[in-house]
């Protein structure tokens, strides 16, 4: 069985033994308490280096969305696809595809949660994080 790897280990953490365990990750600043999605060596607001890694809840609300009908080079999913910007309950915004929902049924403000799908290639199985609508 191929090893499953995260599309970006600095933004998305996946337990190799138990793939049901996954998290969006980032940092929080111990000085000004803001949250940062993804890699950071210092706080983006105050520039302090006193930052601590955090796992995000993965819960968000839909900030905005679009139906991409002309996909960029490198996109390996189906086209068109829905690109969504979710606002995490901790604050940061995260761009990802929304899956499992019709475009016409979406509206700004609905609740989302993070999930992932596997993109399987000859050499590697890549876990790419996605949004889905919270039931």
């Amino acid at each position: 069985m191929k090893k499953i790897v995260s599309v970006d280990p600095s933004r998305f953490k996946l337990d190799e033994v138990n793939p049901d365990e996954f998290k969006l990750i980032g940092y929080t600043c111990n000085e000004c308490d803001i949250f940062i999605f993804g890699p950071a060596t210092n706080c983006q607001k105050c520039t302090n280096s006193d930052v601590t890694p955090v796992d995000f809840s993965g819960d968000a609300i839909l900030h905005s969305y679009t139906l991409i009908k002309v996909a960029p080079a490198g996109w390996i999913g189906a086209t068109p696809y829905i690109l969504a910007e979710g606002e995490l309950s901790e604050g940061p915004h995260v761009l990802a595809e929304i899956i499992g929902m019709d475009f016409d049924d979406l509206s700004v403000g609905i609740p989302l949660k993070i999930t992932y799908v596997i993109h399987d290639s000859d050499k590697v199985a890549t876990a790419v994080y996605k949004w889905q609508v919270s039931k």
């Binding site: 969305y65 960029p72 910007e85 915004h93 700004v108 790419v128």
Partner: protein
């Protein structure tokens, strides 16, 4: 941020433009050289008077393109700097040249930019970036996210925002240098194919090729060079900012999604003017929604009101806030390295009363604003 002060007057003595469009069999350096020669001729200066050159471009077309552009004019040994700063590359080149003259290192600078943008969706990251798999790297997708958010917070409709494209195409119909100068009806704009809903094709700037150039000089050397002060508008503000912390790591908001607002506030203070003093405006309308958000960030209109002003015709040539008078990115097209200098070209023509059918009567002060990936924003203010 402590304000940098202008302590030496700098003027735009000459401008040149290679038409924007598609020129498949023409090398980028040939296009850029044509714009440079035109700018030098417009200034009435020989090439050997130029003391430094800044060249804006983004896509890789070989190394040291700036040198390749200029070497046939004569090898004078001046410093030539190649500048990459996304869609603001050309205006960043101007910013660098302006402040070098202001600092007294040089008296005469050449600013030029060119690009051959490949067809298809524009991306920011490299081809091996995870963002390509995640699907978030899509320039027009980003504008579409801002547009939907703007609509949800202001009540603007997709149709009202599309009016920006109709207006800019009308302006371009008076501009033979535009990539697209045929006019469209609102219905045609809305019915063009969807790129990233709610943005349709005619609401997205074309991927274009072209070049632009400007010769800028210290005011105190104009007389000795024999350059006309009257036809050389003064640069009364030159500001460049990059991304700052906005609270959420995203710029897809309804209001002030770019760094334009802080840059504009610095520029108005530097120029000692208010937004009400501005007679014409060139903004970064890579998509229709961009023009509205930039106008609001420049404080030309209140937040959430630019779409109404557009409906009322206030941003048209005959309106009180004429915007993107040459057609903007939506009609001129967007060769990244050239666009920021193209805005200066149009502003100079307008301030000289040389813009022909699209002339804004009595224009005295013009603002040019350019945004780019990395939240780069430039604001330049010129005065007749």
């Amino acid at each position: 941020m402590e304000q940098i002060r202008i302590n030496r007057k700098v003027r735009v003595a000459g401008v040149g433009l290679h038409p924007f469009g598609k020129f498949r069999n023409k090398d980028i350096s040939v296009m850029a050289r044509e714009a440079v020669v035109e700018a030098l001729g417009d200034a009435g200066l020989p090439w050997n008077k130029v003391q430094v050159g800044y060249f804006g471009h983004v896509y890789y077309e070989g190394m040291s393109i700036g040198e390749r552009v200029l070497s046939p004019l004569g090898l004078t040994g001046i410093p030539i700097i190649n500048v990459e700063n996304a869609c603001s590359s050309g205006s960043t080149a101007l910013w660098q040249a302006f402040w070098m003259i202001n600092a007294g290192l040089y008296d005469v600078a050449l600013v030029f930019g060119a690009e051959k943008v490949p067809s298809g969706p524009v991306t920011v990251t490299g081809s091996d970036s995870p963002d390509r798999l995640i699907g978030g790297d899509h320039m027009m997708g980003g504008y579409a996210l801002r547009m939907r958010r703007y609509m949800s917070e202001t009540g603007a409709t997709a149709s009202s925002i599309a009016q920006v494209a109709v207006k800019n195409r009308e302006h371009a119909s008076m501009n033979p240098n535009a990539h697209r100068n045929e006019t469209y009806t609102l219905e045609e704009v809305l019915k063009s194919r969807v790129i990233a809903d709610p943005l349709t094709l005619f609401q997205c700037c074309p991927t274009s090729e072209g070049a632009a150039a400007a010769v800028i000089c210290a005011d105190d050397v104009l007389d000795s060079l024999g350059v006309s002060r009257e036809k050389s508008p003064e640069i009364i503000a030159s500001v460049l900012t990059s991304g700052d912390y906005n609270g959420n790591g995203s710029d897809h908001s309804a209001f002030s999604p770019y760094r334009t607002e802080p840059a504009a506030l610095i520029a108005y203070e530097m120029a000692n003017i208010s937004p009400d003093d501005v007679d014409l405006i060139q903004v970064h309308d890579a998509a229709t929604i961009g023009e509205l958000q930039q106008l609001e960030s420049l404080h030309i209109f209140e937040k959430g009101k630019a779409w109404i002003a557009t409906q009322e015709g206030r941003t048209s040539l005959s309106g009180d806030r004429p915007t993107n008078t040459d057609g903007g990115l939506l009609a001129m097209g967007h060769p990244f390295g050239a666009s920021g200098i193209r805005m200066i070209h149009e502003t100079v023509l307008q301030l000289r009363d040389q813009a022909g059918a699209r002339q804004v009567d009595g224009a005295q002060i013009g603002v040019s604003q350019c945004s780019g990936a990395g939240d780069v924003t430039t604001v330049h203010i010129l005065k007749a």
